[in-house]
Symmetry: C2
Subunit: 339 residues, 2 copies
């Protein structure tokens, strides 16, 4: 695969993004964080959300993003403009990229995409932030499905570089290329998911962990705090920089991956996990998890937790940049093209 | 739960570990890394391994560990001694803690534990590094099973703080307490796994991800490199500092965990994942994974990958220490009690 970061240096006007005007439709946590990243890269953004408090959410997330980018040592002086619009049509009419971030219901997505499509220029890219639906299923009623992709980001969108780019059966290759380049120019790491499956790559892995974790809580094996500690004092540190396979490759010693697989593979047959079903999603289980989560967080508010999370991510990203590894490389590219 | 780190400051002679003499039986990658961590904390260690090249492995891993600890700014001047012994009995005869690290076969573990038990002082702690077997099953033939625990570490043991401490049905509470204190004094984060299950906590989560990842490769959805990127540019960064539940708590916004669960919970019912079985572990699949892993690593040797991994982990741990978060807190405690 070509290095998607290559777009940054080869095609970019140094000092900003490939696109000048974007629209974000749906401004919850994810939508607002897209807005923040885009504006921080100098893109003018128009938004639409039916909620009355959309301005409050946008302000809060923008403030978090500015603190984070200042923490990274990135300039936040030349923001793209923001316009909150009264309708989807007003928001998207002039956009080069429309990022759809409405709730995860296929009927809602379809209706929103129809409204978007009726108002955009023919050349506009349409990207859905869905974490689950296939682009082919999203585009089923579209007049020009060639311009639809999934562009699935990870929270906090203004800090985490990954965005999964997925095309549907009728998405054009040109659309994929343009989306990869546009996201790279926003300082992200676009990953082209070549085969269209529900939940793509990252969320399939996340869902596997989530399901097993819920079992552990359901069966009283561990609390939410203990499970989080098992992650962040152990393999979570490995995964911030090397992922699953390359870490295991090193565990095989000089024998490498083949040696590791011969040792480890058979253990997959052991009946260790509860992966074959899900616990009943009862009020009792929801209550147990929520109560344990309350205990775990103590009297720290969500705002304090968000600030803590961002501070930690900023520290990790800068540390990885200093050793030229993983997500630190993406940050270095972004820094090189900041105004 | 009491904070296991409390042991460090409350009961420790500042400048070293709670134990003076340890034995490590079985010196592969994990055993050798235990030796390194123990010696770096001033513990005299005797080892036994039937392999002729045990000295080479010990030297290599010790060198890696010294580089890593120097990177952390920790002194490596006053190492505990190392003695490579001719028999298990010679290695363990005088030990306060015996760390068993032989291959993951129950019959081999049983035979090794019998040999260890015949030669140790009555008061010695016996810990197995197993990542899967329950301590009750390990102790089934032991004369004094009260002193056996599982102490399951994470590679690289000299850098990652997590160690899962699991007692069996006949393990004494005193043994658990002593083990928690001993591991904390080695600069680790002991996590008491209160309910005895196969694979404990972390490896159940890891196995869930591994299984799903193998399906993705098997079905040609993604390569090993793409899966690693999906982790290390995205949620891996979150997990290095906050774990699963607290991250999701923040995603619920002001509504917190209850709000998040109401939104996300039902999605667990969707048939997204391949979690219900394992792909056939064919030579073809092993070959595919190994070949992709070879491509991914390019011409970097295992030694180079290990150096890269450790350099990245050192950078992340120092970054987390600077913001007083997660594994950085454990490092700060360790630093405070270094000679």
């Amino acid at each position: 695969m070509a290095d998607p970061d290559a777009h940054l240096s080869s095609t970019l006007d140094v000092g900003g993004a490939l696109i000048d005007r974007a629209a974000v439709v749906g401004c919850g946590v994810i939508g607002a964080a897209w807005v923040a990243r885009m504006r921080l890269r100098g893109v003018d953004v128009r938004v639409f959300d039916p909620e009355l408090n959309v301005g409050v959410v946008l302000d809060e997330v923008m403030q978090q993003a500015v603190v984070a980018w200042n923490g990274l040592g990135l300039s936040t002086d030349r923001l793209g403009s923001l316009m909150v619009c009264e309708s989807v049509a007003d928001a998207v009419t002039d956009a080069e990229l429309v990022q759809e971030c409405v709730p995860e219901r296929l009927d809602v997505k379809h209706a929103t995409l129809a409204t978007i499509e009726a108002a955009i220029p023919r050349a506009a890219l349409v990207a859905s932030s869905t974490s689950g639906f296939k682009p082919t299923d999203l585009a089923v009623h579209m007049e020009h499905p060639d311009r639809l992709i999934v562009g699935h980001p990870f929270n906090p969108v203004y800090l985490l570089p990954l965005v999964e780019v997925v095309g549907g059966e009728r998405t054009s290759l040109g659309t994929i290329d343009r989306a990869m380049a546009a996201y790279a120019s926003l300082g992200m790491k676009p990953l082209h998911v070549r085969v269209e499956i529900d939940a793509f790559i990252a969320d399939r892995l996340l869902e596997a962990v989530w399901r097993e974790a819920i079992w552990l809580v359901n069966d009283g094996v561990a609390t939410t705090a203990e499970i989080d500690d098992a992650i962040r004092y152990g393999f979570g540190l490995r995964w911030a920089q090397m992922g699953l396979f390359e870490t295991y490759r090193t565990a095989g010693g000089a024998g490498g991956m083949r040696h590791f697989l011969r040792q480890f593979g058979p253990a997959l047959e052991w009946p260790w996990t509860k992966l074959t079903d899900t616990p009943s999603w009862t009020d009792k289980l929801v209550g147990t998890i929520a109560d344990q989560s309350d205990d775990q967080s103590g009297d720290r508010t969500i705002a304090e937790l968000l600030a803590e999370r961002d501070q930690n991510l900023v520290a990790i990203l800068k540390a990885l940049e200093a050793v030229d590894a993983g997500a630190g490389k993406t940050l270095a590219q972004l820094r090189a093209t900041q105004r």
